[in-house]
């Protein structure tokens, strides 16, 4: 029995011998041909759990991405929210997969590295090149001056076309407004305002009839106050017929439209009526000719003199008391020009 078992083993070996030899030879060959290289990135032990986490996260991201595609193709209500949710979740899952991979799968080595030093020799050589180059020149300074002249002139001529961007010397245009004596006050649908329509406690926006409403000098605010409350500056006694006052709607601080009107419900206890700009809360007193009560505006609100025509319509009786819109260097408190 023993002999049979031995022969059986020998046979097994003999049958497999070519295979074993071949494998051994191949291994030897490979070992000889490519000498084993030292690893650069250290090996990292990973767990099946971590790998599965990454796989599941990525497949979930794929599902969310697909959902975005489906939401895009199919018409659904609130598509912004659903599309964004699908895309956002897809991106978040990819981020999660990458973070798990970074923490659990990717080899993380801590390497040392030297901070860069200084290249003094290169510096010296560079300086030498710079210094030695013009050594043959005798009129160095003159050449430099000529070069500077050429460069400066070229620069100047290249910058000059920028002047075409705008009428930058024409600061006179900043005073322009379409208001002049006799111009009707109309609302934003070109309907003329009647004096009787203007009631106290609110404010109206008016534009000059037939003029461009988008011009800075166009929009005005109209309010009605009790004539006995008015304390207008000298020379403006007849600017507010029946207590109806008009001011430029453009704040003299930063050019926003004055969109707020402070109207006291209990005048005995509350602050007086005021025109307020919603941008920086410059507060103007309509009863005293648009003087600044509070806020950053540095110039009074320009007032427009009014008159009531025989039909009861409101018209401008002249031009503003001062330049309309935000201030600039040299702006004077003179009347604006009519355009």
């Amino acid at each position: 029995m023993r002999v049979i078992r031995f022969l059986k083993g020998l046979l097994w070996l003999l049958i497999r011998l070519p295979k074993i030899l071949y494998a051994g030879l191949l291994g030897l060959f490979g070992w000889l041909r490519a000498p084993r290289r030292e690893r650069i990135v250290p090996e990292r032990e990973t767990t099946a759990r971590a790998e599965w986490t990454v796989i599941v996260l990525l497949f979930a991201a794929a599902a969310a991405g697909l959902a975005f595609f489906v939401f895009y193709v199919v018409d659904i209500p609130s598509s912004t929210q659903f599309l964004g949710l699908a895309l956002g979740v897809c991106l978040a899952l990819i981020a999660a997969a990458l973070v798990v991979a970074a923490k659990k799968l990717i080899p993380t080595e801590h390497l040392e590295e030297s901070y860069p030093g200084e290249a003094r020799e290169d510096e010296e050589q560079l300086l030498q090149v710079i210094h030695e180059t013009p050594s043959g020149l005798t009129r160095r300074r003159l050449i430099a001056s000529a070069g500077a002249a050429a460069g400066g002139a070229l620069g100047l001529s290249l910058v000059a076309p920028a002047a075409s961007l705008g009428p930058f010397l024409d600061t006179e245009s900043l005073y322009a407004t379409p208001w002049r004596a006799g111009r009707r006050l109309v609302d934003d649908r070109e309907r003329p305002y009647l004096a009787d329509e203007i009631v106290t406690g609110t404010f109206y926006t008016a534009y000059p009839q037939g003029a461009d409403p988008e011009q800075l000098g166009s929009p005005i605010v109209v309010v009605r106050l009790d004539p006995s409350q008015l304390q207008l500056p000298e020379g403006r006694a007849d600017w507010a017929p029946d207590g109806i006052l008009a001011y430029s709607k453009i704040c003299t601080h930063a050019g926003c439209a004055i969109g707020l009107y402070r109207n006291p419900l209990f005048p005995q206890a509350e602050s007086k009526p005021a025109l307020v700009c919603p941008c920086h809360y410059s507060t103007f007193d309509p009863a005293e000719g648009g003087t600044v009560i509070f806020g950053p505006a540095g110039r009074n609100l320009p007032q427009l003199p009014l008159e009531i025509d025989p039909q009861g319509g409101l018209r401008a009786a002249g031009s503003f008391s001062g330049p309309v819109g935000p201030s600039f260097w040299g702006v004077r408190t003179r009347g604006p020009s009519s355009s």
């Binding site: 964004g84 981020a95 990458l98 030297s114 930063a254 439209a257 819109g325 935000p326 201030s327």
Partner: protein, 455 residues
């Protein structure tokens, strides 16, 4: 496959040695180093979403009457620019998602830059040899503010028009050249020539993005050339040696993961949290304004400053010399950016320190820098908060005038208080540390003395 690709590239570009070096560039390991990356990735998202928006946006002030799918605006007079943004929001599929993501990404972008700047300042990362990196960073911050301002101004809704009016007034207020400059930029008196829209558009979608991208390139090149700073000096870390994780494989999945996280955050914000619903503001007209006007957060400090200044123009002989918006709208930001740019040199002048610095400092170890930084931050943040005074009045009923007066005093008093308190806290923290170390040493000694010596 990989081998043949690498071989192909090396034979044709010779770039493989550089790529190998870049992949093994060492990143020090600290979460605060990721703030700059958040800004970078927000920028990438801004470019991607911005390109999509340009396919639909029409930069034109041509007047039109709206008859689109948003009924409340039906029949309103508006510009083609505003109409196209309303159309992006209602008629372009995923248009509103991309628009809101773009807007949110801009807000995240600037926030990340500001936090990055704060980290760099308080740890002294701007010191030699990294002053240029710092200066480029500060410039990028302020260019980004302008970029964001132009971006939301393009929509030509009521709020953006009010913002442009303020920008025009600030330009106008610059002494001597203001009026000429504003006329040049706007092509005439506000609201300006139709060309102004082309100018804003090309500046927003091409000129400034290219400038920012170039500065990002320079910023990153300088960071890589001088290497990252690092926290701590525990061996093997030192002023000469850096310890960290290589770009590949260690840093790459983290950084890429951060990119996807930032993208996920801004997309989810864009999907779920409404931002700048311009169809509610309506189109801008010169004669219209609205209450509760607030800019994007990163311009809050400027609106606060504009609101805070008392009412005066500098007037000589009945001629205005310095109009009011100059103080809050031009001088204040110039002081802030000037102080930030000058700081590394100011500090060096005081300390006389001309050495190289690769190791970061803890805020407490530089009490004066920390105190001055905290005071400066308090000053700017307080002025930022002033911008919310009108909302506080509406919500809580606290008098607006009273608030403004309180702030006018607080912005000078509080920074001084913060300066002194921060300085004191820094010193105390260091004292506590010194005492702790002393005690540990004493306890160790006592223990050693108490242990019976085996003889």
């Amino acid at each position: 496959m990989i081998r043949s690709t690498v071989r192909f590239l090396e034979e044709r570009t010779g770039a493989i040695p550089f790529v190998r070096k870049s992949l093994r560039y060492v990143f020090p390991d600290h979460w605060s180093f990721l703030l700059g990356e958040v800004a970078l990735y927000s920028f990438v998202i801004l470019i991607a979403t911005g390109i999509y928006l340009t396919f639909f946006f029409e930069p034109s002030t041509a007047q039109t009457v709206y008859h689109g799918s948003y009924a409340p605006l039906d029949g309103q007079r508006m510009t083609e620019a505003y109409k196209s943004v309303v159309d992006i929001s209602f008629d372009v599929k995923a248009g509103l998602l991309i628009r809101q993501t773009h807007h949110w990404a801009a807000d995240v972008f600037v926030a990340a830059i500001v936090l990055h700047l704060i980290r760099v300042f308080f740890t002294g990362a701007y010191r030699k040899p990294r002053e240029l990196t710092y200066i480029i960073g500060v410039l990028m911050l302020f260019i980004s503010l302008l970029e964001g301002y132009l971006g939301y101004s393009l929509a030509d809704d009521l709020l953006s028009g009010m913002g442009l009016a303020i920008g025009y007034s600030v330009a106008l207020s610059i002494p001597f050249v203001g009026a000429n400059l504003a006329l040049l930029i706007w092509g005439g008196q506000f609201p300006g020539d139709p060309d102004f829209w082309s100018r804003m558009y090309i500046t927003h979608v091409l000129i400034l993005p290219v400038v920012i991208a170039a500065l990002i390139g320079a910023h990153l090149a300088l960071v890589a050339s001088r290497h990252h700073t690092q926290f701590g000096t525990g061996p093997p870390r030192s002023e000469r040696k850096l310890l960290g994780v290589p770009t590949f494989p260690g840093q790459a999945p983290r950084s890429l993961g951060l990119f996807f996280a930032v993208a996920a955050a801004v997309v989810l914000l864009g999907a779920l949290i409404q931002i700048n619903p311009i169809w509610l503001w309506g189109p801008y007209h010169v004669g219209q304004g609205t209450n509760g006007a607030q800019p994007d957060w990163y311009l809050g400090w400027l609106i606060g400053a504009l609101r805070l200044v008392p009412h005066f123009d500098v007037v000589i002989a009945n001629r205005t010399v310095v109009p009011n918006p100059f103080w809050g709208g031009a001088l204040f930001p110039l002081i802030v950016v000037g102080a930030l740019l000058a700081w590394p040199w100011l500090e060096r002048r005081v300390t006389g320190d001309h050495r190289f610095h690769n190791v970061l400092e803890r805020p407490r170890d530089r009490p004066w820098r920390t105190a001055i930084g905290a005071a400066f931050l308090t000053w700017v943040v307080l002025i930022f908060i002033v911008g919310s005074a009108d909302r506080v009045y509406v919500l809580l009923g606290i008098s607006y005038v009273g608030q403004i007066w309180a702030y006018r005093i607080a912005i000078w008093v509080l920074p001084v208080v913060v300066l002194l308190v921060t300085w004191r806290v820094c010193l105390s923290l260091r004292e506590i540390e010194a005492i702790d170390q002393e005690r540990e040493r004493a306890e160790e000694e006592a223990e050693r003395a108490a242990t019976p010596v085996a003889s």
